[in-house]
Subunit: 536 residues, 2 copies
Amino acid sequence: MEQVDEESSQSVSKKATKKEAAKQEKLRRRQEAALASAASSLAIEEEEDPLAANYGNVPLYELQSKEESNLSDWTRVEELTEGLKDKEVLIRGRAQTTRAVGKNMAFVVVRQKGFTVQCVVTAQPELVSRQMVKFVAGLSRESIVDVQGLVSVPSVPIKGTTQQVEVQVRKLHCISKALPTLPINIEDAARSEKEIEEALQAGEQLVRVNQDTRLNYRVLDMRTPANQGIFHIQHEVGSIFRKFLESEGFQEIHTPKLIAGASEGGSAVFKLDYKGQAACLAQSPQLHKQMAICGDKERVFVVGPVFRAEDSYTHRHLCEFVGLDAEMEIKKHYSEVMDIIDRLFVTMFDHLNDKCKKELDAVRRQYPFEPLKYLRKTLRLRFEEGVQMLKDAGVEIDPYGDLNTESERKLGQLVLEKYGTEFYILHRYPLAVRPFYTMPCYDDAKYSNSFDVFIRGEEIISGAQRVHVPEFLEERAKACGIDVNTLTTYIDSFRYGAPPHGGFGVGLERVVMLFCGLNNIRKTSLFPRDPLRLAP
Amino acid sequence: MEQVDEESSQSVSKKATKKEAAKQEKLRRRQEAALASAASSLAIEEEEDPLAANYGNVPLYELQSKEESNLSDWTRVEELTEGLKDKEVLIRGRAQTTRAVGKNMAFVVVRQKGFTVQCVVTAQPELVSRQMVKFVAGLSRESIVDVQGLVSVPSVPIKGTTQQVEVQVRKLHCISKALPTLPINIEDAARSEKEIEEALQAGEQLVRVNQDTRLNYRVLDMRTPANQGIFHIQHEVGSIFRKFLESEGFQEIHTPKLIAGASEGGSAVFKLDYKGQAACLAQSPQLHKQMAICGDKERVFVVGPVFRAEDSYTHRHLCEFVGLDAEMEIKKHYSEVMDIIDRLFVTMFDHLNDKCKKELDAVRRQYPFEPLKYLRKTLRLRFEEGVQMLKDAGVEIDPYGDLNTESERKLGQLVLEKYGTEFYILHRYPLAVRPFYTMPCYDDAKYSNSFDVFIRGEEIISGAQRVHVPEFLEERAKACGIDVNTLTTYIDSFRYGAPPHGGFGVGLERVVMLFCGLNNIRKTSLFPRDPLRLAP
């Protein structure tokens, strides 16, 4: 264990999970009973109601592809604006909240992918029965409903919904019922720390959903506006990564995750039996992406899972994460690689700020953060300069050692103060702290043609020029204490003519976490894997 | 073992590998001796040559990022056209072939990413020495060279190069030396069966490089025009898949490959120890992509490795391949999913035919194939209709069983004859042959809302509407003999309101293989993994 996360530790999490499970089981039994009784009482009402066809639970067989669909019949919640006034619309979404006002009126807020609209059910002859009002008022939260009705524009602004129109409901059918009591309420899961604290000061104790509970019920947790935003941003980061590199002549390759022997040596690997052969899960696509360069692919990228069996239980380590990797021929200098990174990330940050405003706002409402400060031309600092800045600030530091998390953060602060950026490249790292395949500097073999890239004082990228000369690569592997025999195929790849080359690897979850100023990488992984978590 | 591949069987492959290794070791020793003696003789000549700076082997320190690069100094081989006549250019590429004509002249064909240009070295006072001619003529094939020279336009067409200009060489430096004798020659690896057979009829025996040898030396094999084409096309298929789905409102998610318990049951899984917990590698992103739908992602796709520990050694099975998966809410009918597939693949095929002409031609030259026949609107055939067509053709078949490889091929033929397409959808499969989470048909529970998609008589896609009702899902799992306790988290995901949904999974390597009419999936996987192969 490298560092214990603030929000949870092993014992707490295990206990919580057991208790949670018992609680859930009880809940479920109670809910099943409730559902059964609700259904039977409903059945009676339906029989008595001549308008019963306008509402109710849709039976399964109706949802088994009974009819061909006409998608143009449907309107999206986000499309519901004043322009549709008096038009009849059909929407599908979740019953986020329901509220009855007497026996003749009910409100249901319907949510579709983060957009919400207020739907009004008013009892009126020939159209809407009181039974229908009761049915709507009794819908369990998060149930999926089809609503048909007329768009109306109220004279006063509507609070608590994204859309400023209402739907006057004519028909409402429940497609899928949620349990009456959910393990976590979306409302609770969407609450910011600030709201909880302010309520506490006013004497009210609101529910705080902890990170482990969120992950145990990720399908619910995912529905909060912040999480919809986070995973939209994650999608965009991957999309921009690929599109930018494609526009620079890179092509995607797929490297095997099942390999014989450890992929880079060093940290722990997951081992498995492969048809009687000893195998492990690749810790990175490093060796294979370099082999693709030797195979004349010239510029490649790889997007895929990487596996680390490390015992790190920190805010920024996962046992499985998404690696965004690139490798390219270089003509002269590893700055060619840094040039790509520079333009790639400035393009990406610009795009996120420009095209994901709504998503960033949604994240910010729950987890406040300042927009990332970055320069049009990314700052490049030599490792030696970084060490000097730290020394000048009174930090004791080994000039040929690696930076620890603390000094990385400190340097991030110093760089921000001096250069006004939270995104920068630190290059020419000491050779001793880099992998064996890293090319040493031409003028000082204690340093290497390598770099790390930082956002808000935390590392998101490592990269370097690689050794492309097989004899020298062998020498370097031996010097690093690696058994050269385990690397034969890899090293042999460079014996058939190998261009000078370099590349880098990015952690997708870290980019999203740090761009959004989040405090835990588990917030940016849909189904995270850490030493304690293998589910859901 | 399901079916033995024509090109290799276990015993042959193992023997070949051992023999190959011994041969290689011998070769290497001889080559090292040769290189050493060549280097020493060269050293003498260099001392005597006043023009020695114009050629030679570039020492390592010059390639360790000594100078910043100016990329605009460089011209790409594919850019070398008549317009550059008399201009000085600098190119980097591989010495594909060299040829001396007496002592005063040498030719070297330089290749860069499939494009080739002839470079001419002519001894002339003050410019090019005879030693330089000798150096160039002695370059080992596949070495990387930097060539500086003037573009000239010969009066007769140049055979055997893609570019119709020559470079009159002024300087030529070797950046990376290839071994003098390569384990496979690119020329041999690039040869078509037809060429080999025609030569044989003319009494000449040419080298045929078998599939296993190719894969053992993939970094060399990758350099053939056909393979450059194949992996370019693979890149495009992935790129179109994502871009098309993005344009339809799908977002990318990343699902964990490390999971507790088997992902779908059924076929064999790779098992491993996860920090003391029993774990396995996901056989598909099925369960997690459905959970993302329950988490309001609405439309998602996943691109990533899937793992199958099956003992199938066929032309179309791999133990690790790239899955292109999608999942989406459906309003009414699984035809909504088939609509997406229809437009996605027609878009993809159009794009490949339009934008990858050169690559397809390169593949076709080595592995002849006919362009895929497909309709503007993809044919949809009911399983029952397919069965009837087979019966009418005299094939005995169980109407509630699955199709085997043979009947799939046969049906492909019949469909081609009747409808003129090699790409079609077969839907409403018998329920019994589909996974437990498949939604049965509303009108006949012996059939299901599912489909397979075929190219040239082979399956590339499976898809279906899924069961979104938790109680029914439990029932179906039990009916399929699956322990429901292993699926708790998955089934619980549907208890909090779940929209009707469906999706599909595509095998990337299969799409490329079948679009290009190739006979082995190992040809479309960069580093394939099958029961016998875990390297390179």
